[in-house]
């Protein structure tokens, strides 16, 4: 165990854990966040995705000791009670069914749009391809992303 400093959604935290502990367990069990989810625990499904340094990162296989910059979770992309345009588009398009994967869908889409605000359909599909959904919400995900792209507010 050792003391690890973390900055998450603008707040600083110190946790006393094994440095090899995957970031996901710290976020969920120590910091009480409910956005990032444990899906497969193997970095294969994407349910645990967070954004670090602008990149969509699978927190279930990211050792906490390797995190050098601020972590942003689903809870951190809304501001002052106002939803991020992607979150609003997810509601407008009624994207989720069970919703367990949607943290990963939204965070992966956000990392994409932050780098490329006007992706093509092919680029959207390629980026979202590895974030799995058991309920087959993929078509609505694509529609919701395109809604945000069309408004140009990502």
């Amino acid at each position: 165990m050792s003391m690890i400093a973390l900055k998450v959604n603008g707040s600083s935290h110190t946790v006393d854990v094994d440095p090899a502990t995957p970031l996901l367990y710290i976020l969920r069990n120590d910091l009480g966040l409910q956005g990032p989810r444990f899906g497969c625990g193997l970095g294969q499904c994407g349910a645990c995705t967070v954004i670090i340094n602008g990149a969509a990162v699978r927190s279930c296989i990211t050792p906490v000791s390797g995190v050098r910059t601020e972590v942003t979770t689903l809870e951190g992309i809304s501001s002052n009670g106002k939803l991020h345009p992607l979150q609003q588009a997810w509601i407008d398009e009624q994207v989720p069914q069970c919703g367990f994967c949607q943290n990963g869908q939204i965070m992966t889409a956000k990392a994409m749009l932050d780098k490329n605000p006007h992706p093509t359909d092919a680029q959207i599909r390629e980026t979202m391809n590895a974030t799995l959904c058991r309920c087959f919400s993929h078509f609505r995900i694509q529609t919701a992303i395109k809604r945000v792209v069309a408004k140009g507010i990502a």
Partner: protein
């Protein structure tokens, strides 16, 4: 979110507490129900002992509560894993009760506060299981009209109802709200019907043209909390003193456990215990990642069964063709298929082989079991919470009224989303250790 939003987190934190207090005061149960808190509460001591009742589906009060602020909460025995049935129940019941949709909430599938409608299954929620809810809501409206008739000194047929306000048609300034009539109090009206699907009052349900919310494509009430990170899922429940468990599974089906070597795990940080009964093995640790690591590190040895319990993949279809059928041996034929084939100009024959299909959830099965006060509370996303309650009680040797299952959201399999194995395992370990267990 406010008390009318119907989102699950709010349900867990506020409405269930309110509900139990209401039912106790209403005297619906022969037993007394102690003060109650649930997941998310910091006051674990308030979760006092007391049997967990089975709500009586013959009482309006088990289905509908009208609050003093003229809002309503509906309690139904279904679970909504994400198809939007909870929102649909609100639409249908709001229509029958004559109350604005956004003044209602719906609580589903928690065994001691909602009537037993089995949970989800068979895609029957709207077609079959919404009917008793509609009839109960219509009956509640009828009873409220009768109360208003006395209060406003006007016959029922001279009264109008709109958005939970009853007024005199000839003089709309004479009005009374549902909340004023019965807010915080019980209906105490018995329904008839020998089972939950047959339950009915005297009132008739509305005809289709009279429905206002049904037929509209309203936004689902569970989605906002699923996209802003505020939803507390079954796997998010945390309780004081909770430990984490991971199973250690055998490498083959029907393997027999022949040995456990605890030496690789007994000095690991946070390690508490190896649990073993028959062929079941699990590790218990203080933290989740410690349990994950300990489950990987524990050494177990297994004996392969002498004969394989299942056919090999290449023999699967031969096995299926020769296996005894458990159901009807052939489909029912109407008409004369043999004659039709004999007279056909051309017959096309083909053979299809389809493997067994199973439903698998998006993420691992999980449950949290709380053994406080000699009782057992299971937090689960299992679609069929009522059956789970009975199963857990039998499995753990506990009276059914000492076990409850709180339904919460989880990763779905859509079709038999069943997490009862995880719940039984968590329940057994919680019983053995006397601490809350997250499996």
């Amino acid at each position: 979110m406010n008390t009318t939003s119907g989102i699950p987190q709010q349900i867990e934190d506020v409405l269930i507490t309110h509900r139990r207090g209401f039912l106790r005061n209403a005297g619906l149960f022969a037993v007394s129900i102690a003060a109650y808190t649930t997941a998310g509460s910091s006051n674990a001591d308030a979760q006092a002992a007391g049997p967990y009742p089975v709500p009586d589906f013959h009482q309006i009060d088990s289905w509908i509560v009208i609050h003093e602020n003229n809002t309503a909460t509906f309690y139904v025995g279904k679970t909504d894993p994400g198809q939007g049935t909870g929102t649909a129940f609100r639409q249908l019941m709001s229509d029958e009760l004559d109350i604005a949709f956004d003044k209602t909430a719906c609580i589903m599938g928690s065994t001691d506060i909602t009537v037993d409608q089995v949970g989800a299954g068979g895609s029957s929620a709207i077609e079959r299981d919404s009917l008793p809810m509609r009839r109960v809501a219509a009956e509640a409206r009828r009873v409220l009209l009768g109360m208003a008739s006395a209060t406003l000194a006007a016959p029922v047929d001279q009264l109008a109802v709109s958005d939970a306000v009853i007024s005199v048609k000839a003089d709309p300034t004479k009005r009374v709200t549902y909340g004023e009539l019965i807010g915080g109090k019980k209906f105490n009206i018995a329904l008839t019907g020998t089972n939950v699907n047959a339950i009915s009052g005297q009132a008739k349900i509305k005809t289709i043209p009279e429905l206002k919310y049904a037929g509209q494509s309203l936004q689902r009430d569970d989605i906002p909390a699923k996209v802003d990170g505020s939803l507390k899922w079954a796997v998010d429940v945390k309780l004081p003193g909770m430990v984490h468990v991971r199973n250690v599974k055998p490498p083959y089906a029907c393997a027999k456990l022949t040995g456990i070597d605890e030496s690789p795990v007994k000095n690991l940080p946070g390690f508490i215990k190896v649990m073993n009964k028959g062929n079941y093995v699990a590790v218990v640790c203080e933290r989740e990642e410690q349990a994950v690591n300990a489950a990987r590190a524990l050494k177990t040895t297994w004996e392969k069964p002498a004969t394989a319990p299942f056919p090999s993949a290449e023999d699967l279809f031969d096995y299926m063709r020769t296996a005894a059928t458990a159901g009807p041996s052939r489909p029912t034929a109407t008409g004369d298929p043999d004659g039709a084939f004999a007279g056909a100009a051309k017959t096309i024959e083909a053979e299809y082989q389809i493997p067994f299909q199973g439903h698998t959830s998006f993420a691992g099965a999980h449950a949290l079991a709380d053994p406080s006060n000699g009782q057992m509370t299971i937090y689960s996303n299992d679609m069929k919470t009522y059956g789970m309650r009975r199963g857990i009680a039998t499995f753990l040797g506990m009276p059914a009224d000492r076990v409850r299952v709180v339904y919460m959201q989880g990763p779905q399999g859509f079709g038999r989303t069943a997490a009862e194995d995880a719940a039984a395992e968590a329940g057994w370990i919680a019983q053995e250790l006397g601490r809350p267990v997250r499996m």
